[in-house]
Structures are given as structure tokens and as C-alpha cells.
Amino acid sequence: MKLIFEKGAPGQHLSLLPSCDVPEVSLSQERKAPLPLPQVSETELTRHYTALAKRVHGVNDGFYPLGSCTMKYNPKINEDMAALPGFTQIHPLQPESTVQGCLEVLATAEKLLGEITGMDAMTFQPAAGAHGEFTGLLLIKAYHHHRGDSARTKIIVPDSAHGTNPASAVMAGYTVVNIPSAPDGCVDVEALKAAVGPDTAGLMLTNPNTVGIFDKNILEITKIVHDAGGLCYYDGANLNAVMGVVRPGDMGFDVIHLNLHKTFSTPHGGGGPGSGAVGCKALLESFLPGPVVEKAGDGYRFAIPEHSIGRVKDFYGNFTVVVKALTYILTLGKAGIPEAAENAVLNANYMMKRLKEKYTMAYDVPCMHEFVMCLEDLLHDTGVSAMDIAKGLLDNGIHPPTMYFPLIVHEALMIEPTETESKETLDEACDVFLKLWDLAHSDPQALHDAPKTTPVRRLDEVGAARNPVLRYTEA
């Protein structure tokens, strides 16, 4: 498909702006380079982007069991609410008295999410999960510094963690201590005991963890870290499994990030904008990025926390994403929040049970919202890899699971169906998975060759990295 730069013709344009009604001025140092932006008609523009949209698989195009990403349905009412002019046309530096509705959104979302997570305060400034991790770790850093404890230079991360965890720890100035997982995929308590000490700033953990198991030792784990003087960070990527059922705050965590774009149903937009809200216990509240929203009489006002780490972003975060998440929470309410978690877990266990008929599970125990299959034996028996199965799914209209993660499982496929999929969809998907398992044995080449029905077939990623072509240049 042609690039937009290869379409249209010089002089084609849309009629958008009137002529200037004041005398025109120029700068003494003006741009010398030509500006070769596309020149197309409105018809051509809309056809181009419609064609691009048709080459995308969204949640509305089919099943999307991408593990760790919680690709649940994105309710349309959320989009409507976020598009209200009373939100979209508000300047971020308007007088406080004229933005009381925006402040109410932030304050209400903080209160409800605080209750769901068991946290005392929250900031919505972080724009994504990784940004939230960085922010949360800086709260931990500021806390230790404030107490005059500069010896705490290490963050402990299990080897099953998301790659962002160690990367965020380094950005926050910490050394990473990787600890191996126990054979059951959970934290190796003895390894943790051996790792903590006076240099421990904190532990980063996902619970349920990345293999979809709730770590039953969680209270002991957080106590070990606290006893050593460290703090506990909760990676909220998997909160969908337990929201309304059990709270990270009650598990002993001090600080948490949420992915509003996962758990709280806001769309992913092809990779953003998300929202990585960070919640914390009272002991960290005074370090939060400013400004935060506080109650003032009948209304709200902005305030800067006493020992704030400072801003992590311009203004107040991805505000309209928070509007969408708030709309969702208000819709589900007290009963709907745990019901979503319960059904996410039920759907995952149901799929796991059906797929166990042929596939090997990395951990053959009941799962939470997701589970990991290990295709090492399939690869050994047939030469068909996790990648091949994933590409086979593409020809069946299903977005593949997360591949080759977590790193502790070889040939991993991580499946997270979410609660918004029906039994019919799960059954159809299971039929496809099982059919592909059979195909791997009868005609492995067919899977090496997949996909065949997609707009392009397997792409040369090695070539792309070796000879990078990162922009269009006119021939």
C-alpha cells in the first residue's frame, strides 16, 4: 500500500482556513528547507486512513487474548464522555473556579480507585504503566532520602517480572537485584530473605504474577521487605484478576501503579495514550508529584505536596483517559467491579481447562485471569514453535497471545481472555488452538508458512534492524 507521500499531487489541498484578517508578518530567520508534507484532497485523505484502519486488528475485530495486556471491550459511553466539550475545550491553566468539574473528575477517580486498591492518595500525572513505575520508585527514593537513609541503593525484582520493572528501577537510579522464581512460578521466599538487607530500597512485584498465579505467601513476602527497611511496589498490570476481591494495600504494598488502559477499560489506541495512575499509602503521600487535588469548602483546589518529587509530566496527566476510567467505574459500581474480576478468572480457567487437552501448561494449577502454555514439547515433537502457532492464529482472525514472555517459560504463549468475551467466543478460539495443535503434527510446514491471509505475510525483522529505513525519502 502506498504511503501518503506517494499520493495526491502538488496543489491538492483541503479548504480549511480563511484568509488572514490582520497584516502579515515574518521572521528575520525563516525556514529555508522546503516542507514536503502531503498534498492531497479530502477524498484521498479519508480513503488513505480508511485503508490503514482496515489493516488493523482491534478489539472490535475479534478475540484479543493478549496476556498481561487485558484487552477487554472498550465501552462506547466512555468515549462519548471523554469527548464532551466541557472536558476537551478546557485550557489546563484556566482559573481553578472555572475547572471545578475537571477537579471533581480527578478527586472522584482518586477516591474510588483508592478504595479499590487500598491506597490513601493518588496522582494521575503518569501517562503509562512504565511512567507510573518510574514515579512510584521515585516516591520510594524520596522517602528513604527524607529519612536520611542513603544506603538503600537496590531494588529487588523477580526474574518473572515485566521488562519495564528493571528498566524503571535503573532510571530511578537504582541497582537491580534479580531473584529467581521458585519452581511454582512464585517468589522464592528463601531467595528473597537472602537478598534483602540494609541496602534494600524496595521490591517490585506483580500479584497475580506474570504466570497468572496469586502468590499465597504475599503477606510473608511484604513483611520480609518491610522488616529489612524496604518498601513494596505493586505493578498493577494484573489488577483485573483481583479488583474488588482483594486489595494490594491489604497485601502489604506501599505504592502501586494502575494501567487504566488495561483494568479500567480505556482503549489502547495502538499503543497509547494510556494512564499510569500511581497510588500510595499515607507514608508516601507528601512525596507525590504536584499538583494534587484537594477538597476546599464545597469545591476543589490544586495543592503541592510538602516534599513533592516534582512533576513527571506537563499539566495533570492524560486527563480524558481518566474521564473514561471514571465512567467505567461508575457504571460497574460496587457489585460490577468484583464481578468483572471473577469472570475474567472464570474465563481464563475455562480456556485453560479446554486447552490442557493437548497443550502443556507451564504451571498446571488453577490460574487467575491468565495462564501460560509451554510449547517446548510441541517444538521438539513437530518443529512448530510458539511463533508458528501465533501466526497460525492470525489466519483464523484471532490476535495471538503474548509470545515468549515471561522469560522463565520457554516457548511461552500467555493467554488472557478477559471477562468481556462470551463462552461461544472462548469455545471457538479453543477449537482453533486445538486444530492448530493437530495441524502442527500433520502438516508443520503449513504453520511455518503462516500467515497467508493477512495484508502482508511474515516480515523480515532482521533486515529491518540491519538496514534501518525509518522514514520516507523521495526517490
Partner: protein
């Protein structure tokens, strides 16, 4: 209560029985019993769609929409063509994840490749990434691109946006980097102070163009000073101004970053916005975040993939160049559609009209005795001295006009193509009454 769960009670029972559970609570057996919240969560009852629409709309209605906006300071109300909204609300584009599965994500990947190209065109730089969170985080991320063992200090002009400086400072607290603020002189970076400040340990200097006060900096001369000290020159630019002003490449920048919000994104109480980052060929492998590259499929067909991933967190973990994974893809798409709709002429028109109208307002204000605080050239923002800013802003407010932002020494005004000459004249008449 609202719910998006399709399965009926009977289907759920069927599934429970298939997995050998009596009830759904059995599935949470691994959670210690005393930790379960039971029915204890203090949340309101769920709402129907009509009720939730009423509740959230009521919040939106507590905000005030100003028909005329003369305030910018990092958030700019520009004209947004109708085609932009029409494209970026398409469900496929809104609901997809990061394009990990390239074969079914060509639409997003190609749109990012086109966005990267457009950012290169605007800035004159060689390579751009797929976007980061916003202009402030783009500026902060650029520091890590420039630091090495010997060059450990970052410098920023005092004339950069205060939020950007503060975000850089927070990131520097993380990486234990010293951040030095180079002072201003008459609303511009003090070149002598800059020369004196940059030492052998200087990694980079960040200059905003036009700067926070709307003033044009002598970017080329500053670039020479920075390079003479052996440091990298980072420019934070307004992408619309790039249509008329000398590009970062023409000013010798090694890295160009900026806030992409003016490119078709609503002001939306501060977000979501869009950070862009571009660099010279020599530095592109240090760019953080996603980058899309062109390649071929097994049949030789052109296609696009996420590339150079060896820099990234999911491969390199603690050795990654940044922790960033999600970017602002839908915002980057918005900017791409906006730039396509505007085209070279339309974008120049938006830039030229914004600048010209700002100059018209400045001239009219001067006629009534409200003089600019700084001399020299400016783009579409400027500061006037004002001894009773609150009275001026209150009077404008009553007429539905959001006046400029109160800053030290006066008021920071902004005019875009959205404001007509009549609106400017009306504002000036109101101000004249007060002053």
C-alpha cells in the same frame, strides 16, 4: 448496575462445572481468606448508561468553556479539521494494542512510519521515534541520550517552560544527574552566562524555541556555543512554528523534541498530548521508545515492523535506554492526519496567521499603553507589563474571554488563527477600560 459481561448465569455455571468448581469463590482459593474484601468495598452502586451519562455530563458542565482564548503557555487552541476526528475515532485504530503482531497491524505501523517522516520534515532532523508521552518527558528523555561517563551534567535555559524544567529536574533526581538552569536576560537565554556555565562535563543544553515567553532565541548562535563546549544541542520546538522558523537542523541541533499538542489535539485540560523526538543520524540509536522501520515480507511485499528493539526494556531489561513502552500512538496518528489535512500551505497559514494576529494584538495593546516587557522577535506569544493583571483578566473573563496567563512582571498572551480580528479588537477595548 452496568456490566459488560456477556455470559449468562447459566453459562457461568456450566463453565464452573467444566473447571470443577462449585462457585466462583473456589477460583480464588489461593488468596488468603482473611485478606478477601468480601462485600466490604465502599463504592457506589453501579449505574445504567443513561445515569452515568447524566453524572459525568454534570461534571463537564461545571467547567467553563471560553469562546475566545488568548492563553497558551504550553497548551494551544488551534483549528482542528473535521477529518481529524473522523479518522481518529475509528474503532480499529482506537482499540488496538501496540503493533506487536506486524501482519495484522500494518495500518498502525504505516501511520507511525508516516508520522516519523513528518516529524523529520518539520524539524529537518534525520530520524524520529514513534512518540513519547509529551513535550516535557521528551525533553527529560533527551538528557539520557547525551550523557556519558565524562559528560554528566545537563543544562537548561531558564526561558524553557517551567513544567518542562521541572519534569527534567524530576528525571534528573532519578538518574542522579545535576541539572543547571542557565539564567535569562531580557526574556531570552543569557548567552554570556551560557558560555561561562558550560564546562568539560556538560552533556547537553536544552533550548526552547520559541521560548516560554514567546520570544525567538538566537538558536544558531546558541548551538555554536554549545558545540564549542563539546556538548549536545537539544532544541524543544513548537511544531507549528517549524512551518515558518529556521528548523532545528538549520540551527545545528543534535536532538529536536517538542510538544505535539498543537497538531490537531484538543487542549483537553492538559492531556493526552504528544511528545516527539528526532535526532541526527549520528545519534538515532540512542533514541528511546518505539521506532518503526520499513522492510519486506516473504513475498517481497513492502511492510512495516517495530525495529531496533535491542534498545528496549522488553529485550534489555535493566540495560535498556529507557523504560518507555507505550507511546502516544493515537495522538501520533492524530498529528499525522492533521499534518496531511493542513498540507504545507495550510500549516504555514496556521503558523503565519497565529504569528501575525499575535503581533496585531501586541501592537493594539501598545497603543493603549500596555507595552511588551521584552524586545526582539516573537512568534505567537508575548509578555506585556501590567500593573493590575487580575483586574484586566477579570474584565475579559466577564466577556467570555480567557485572557493571557499572569506571569512575573505581567501577562503572557497567546493568539492563534482561531481568534478573529474582531475578537482581538473587542478584547483590547475591554482592557482599555480597565487600564
Amino acid at each position: 448496575m452496568g456490566s459488560y459481561i456477556p455470559n449468562t448465569g447459566e453459562q457461568r455455571r456450566e463453565m464452573l462445572s467444566a473447571v470443577g468448581a462449585q462457585c466462583v469463590q473456589d477460583l480464588f482459593a489461593s488468596v488468603p481468606k482473611d485478606m478477601l474484601v468480601g462485600d466490604g468495598l465502599d463504592l457506589p452502586e453501579g449505574l445504567s448508561e443513561l445515569e452515568v451519562r447524566r453524572a459525568v455530563t454534570a461534571m463537564a458542565e461545571k467547567n467553563r468553556i471560553y469562546p475566545t482564548v488568548l492563553r497558551g503557555a504550553g497548551a494551544y487552541r488551534h483549528f482542528i479539521p473535521a477529518v481529524v476526528r473522523s479518522v481518529v475515532t475509528r474503532e480499529e485504530l482506537v482499540t488496538a494494542y501496540t503493533p506487536y503482531q506486524a501482519e495484522i497491524s500494518q495500518g498502525i505501523l504505516q501511520s507511525i512510519f508516516e508520522f516519523q517522516t513528518m516529524i523529520c520534515m518539520l524539524t529537518g532532523m534525520d530520524v524520529a521515534n514513534a512518540s513519547v508521552y509529551d513535550g516535557g518527558t521528551a525533553a527529560a528523555e533527551s538528557i539520557a541520550m547525551c550523557k556519558d561517563r565524562r559528560r554528566t551534567k545537563a543544562y537548561v535555559s531558564a526561558c524553557a517552560h517551567p513544567h518542562v524544567i521541572e519534569t527534567m529536574r524530576t528525571y534528573c533526581f532519578g538518574s542522579d544527574t545535576e541539572l543547571v538552569v542557565v539564567p535569562e536576560k531580557d526574556g531570552r537565554t543569557d548567552l554570556e552566562a551560557l558560555k561561562a556555565a558550560l564546562g568539560a562535563d556538560a552533556a547537553c543544553f536544552y533550548l526552547q524555541q520559541p521560548n516560554y515567553y514567546g520570544n525567538m532565541e538566537d538558536a544558531a548562535a546558541i548551538g555554536e556555543i554549545v558545540h564549542a563546549a563539546g556538548a549536545k544541542f537539544v532544541m524543544g520546538v513548537n511544531p507549528i512554528a517549524c512551518a515558518v522558523m529556521a528548523t532545528p537542523a538549520e540551527c545545528g541541533a543534535d536532538i529536536a523534541v517538542g510538544e505535539g499538542q498543537p497538531l490537531g489535539l484538543d487542549i483537553a485540560f492538559g492531556g493526552p498530548y504528544l511528545g516527539f523526538m528526532a535526532a541526527t543520524k549520528a545519534m538515532f540509536r540512542k533514541l528511546p521508545g518505539r521506532i518503526v522501520g520499513q522492510t519486506h515480507d516473504v513475498e517481497g511485499q513492502v511492510g512495516y515492523v517495530l525495529t531496533l528493539t535491542a534498545r528496549e526494556q522488553h529485550i534489555r531489561r535493566e540495560k535498556a535506554s529507557s523504560n518507555i513502552c507505550s507511546n502516544q500512538a493515537l495522538c501520533a496518528l492524530t498529528a499525522g492526519v492533521y499534518l496531511t489535512a493542513m498540507g504545507p500551505e495550510g500549516l504555514e497559514k496556521a503558523a503565519r496567521q497565529s504569528m501575525s494576529k499575535a503581533h496585531y494584538l501586541a501592537a493594539e495593546l501598545e497603543k493603549i499603553g500596555m507595552k511588551r516587557l521584552h524586545g526582539g522577535e516573537f512568534f505567537h506569544e508575548f509578555v506585556t507589563a501590567c500593573d493590575k493583571p487580575q483586574a484586566v483578566l477579570d474584565a475579559l473573563d466577564k466577556a467570555g474571554i480567557l485572557g493571557g496567563l499572569p506571569v512575573e512582571g505581567g501577562i503572557l498572551w497567546c493568539v492563534t488563527e482561531m481568534v478573529s480580528r474582531e475578537e482581538i479588537d473587542r478584547a483590547v477595548a475591554i482592557i482599555k477600560e480597565v487600564c
